[in-house]
Amino acid sequence: MTRVLVVDDDPVIADLVSFRLARLGLDVSVETDGQAGLAAARELRPDLVVLDWMMPRMNGLEMCAALRADPDEQLARTPVLLLTAKAQEPDLERGFAAGATDYIVKPFSTRELATRVTAALPPGTVLA
């Protein structure tokens, strides 16, 4: 089963994203900060990470950069979708520079999220 790791310190958002992605037939795990997220990513080796930016202990950009620098090549290539309230042009540039595969700005649409997650995963992994 395709595994997705959601890392967001806001439980309301984390619950909603998990619910929506579980509906796509994905196996979803949740962590609430970058440090725990990085540890979970190393353990679970997810197929995709949905990542908030502003979080305690380790923020999303730091976690994203750490993933990209991981010696495990497969983990380093994991698609990362940033889901953040930071909406300025330089924020997007910083997000992609840190290694994000895609970027969604809050307030967001769960339909758009589902579409982008589907696009980031290999064809056929997501329920129609």
């Binding site: 619950d15 967001f108 769960t110």
Partner: protein, 360 residues
């Protein structure tokens, strides 16, 4: 045992009993509070899937019936609402209307308690309640600053362009609303607000003119370019409005503005206007602005020189060549050119550029 001792022992016993009673009461209250919190958390967990299911109603799934649900459901919906947009937001807004939460908030706008008025305004903004615009406009004159700000933010979210004029007028009232909040609210109203913003540049509220010009630039409104060029060229206008017009022209990026911006940079006038014009030329990148920027680098006041150098840096190889030619000079011109080149090099190497030095 003497009477005094007996009274003393009795008083100590009463005091000890009171302390024990207080401790017991505190423990009971604490336990009760923890139980209530656990019950609320449990209810929230039960209701959360219901709220999520509301968002799937458009995807061929029947919307769950929430008419008789716990009032806690409203809180969950209200928490989630600002995080969502599009069809998700519309679905949640409909739930709040259906459950009477919006009507209740409308009543709360005239509550005697300030936080209730502010909270109601915020909610009505989040549900984009167009029918409450007149009441929200009235709250722009509320005696409490936080309520005025909440009303301004809410008006921006209603999407009703009828809010533009009262928001701009609110800038002239004392105590008013911070311009930053009015600006964000006007941006939230989106492009339908553009005609009203264009009118406000020459409108009756002087405090609104610079903000209106800035916002036209932030919207990148090409339809406002001619109007802004006129404002910039009019030396009788307030410098703050001309400065905003110059900045806006830079953001819009229309080369039609180049001639007026060139003239502004090369003609002695208010420094803030010259600096904004130089920055705008850098943003537009029209080669016709190169000479004026080079001239400003050589002869301008310190701030203008620095702005011209930064703008030349934005011109690519042509601007870099001019900076390099001036970087060898001694004095403030050379210093400004070298500083801009350093910034360019730092950017190319991915370093955070050093702060720009303004040579006296």
């Amino acid at each position: 045992m003497s009477t005094v001792e007996a009274v003393s022992i009795a008083a100590s016993a009463v005091l000890a009993l009171l302390v024990v009673a207080l401790l017991v009461a505190t423990a009971v209250e604490h336990t009760g509070r923890a139980r209530r919190a656990a019950r609320t958390a449990r209810r929230r967990a039960e209701l959360t899937p219901l709220v999520h299911a509301l968002l799937e109603a458009d995807d061929g799934v029947d919307a769950p019936d929430v008419s008789g649900s716990d009032p806690l459901l409203d809180e969950l919906v209200i928490e989630l609402l600002p995080q969502l947009r599009g069809a998700d937001r519309t679905a949640l807004q409909a739930v709040l209307v259906e459950r009477g939460v919006v009507d209740q908030a409308g009543v709360m706008l005239s509550s005697r308690t300030a936080w209730r008025r502010g909270r109601a305004a915020e909610l009505l903004g989040n549900v984009a309640s167009g029918r409450h615009v007149p009441q929200l406009v009235a709250l722009l004159a509320d005696p409490v600053a936080d309520v005025r700000s909440a009303a301004a933010r809410a008006l921006g979210r209603t999407g009703d362009v009828a809010a533009v004029a009262p928001l701009l007028a609110g800038l002239a009232v004392r105590p008013g609303i911070p311009p930053g909040i009015v600006g964000m609210a006007l941006l939230d109203l989106g492009t339908p607000a553009l005609p009203a913003l264009r009118a406000a540049v020459n409108g009756p509220v002087p405090e609104a003119r610079p903000l209106a010009a800035e916002l036209l630039g932030l919207h990148g409104d090409p339809g406002a370019a001619d109007l802004l060029v006129e404002v910039l060229a009019d030396v009788h206008r307030a410098p703050v409005v001309r400065r905003s017009a110059a900045s806006a022209l830079g953001r819009i990026g229309s080369p039609h503005a180049t001639a007026t911006l060139v003239s502004t940079v090369t003609t002695t006038g208010p420094l803030e206007v010259q600096v904004a014009a130089a920055e705008a030329l850098g943003r537009i990148g029209d080669p016709a602005g190169l000479e004026a920027l080079t001239s400003g680098l050589r002869t301008g006041a310190a701030l203008v020189r620095s702005a011209c150098a930064e703008s030349l840096a934005a011109f690519g190889p042509a601007g870099r060549a001019r900076l390099a030619a001036h970087a060898v000079l001694l004095g403030p011109t050379g210093a400004a050119a070298r500083s801009a080149l350093d910034t360019l090099d730092a950017r190319a190497l991915g370093r955070r550029p050093a702060p720009v030095r303004v040579a006296a």
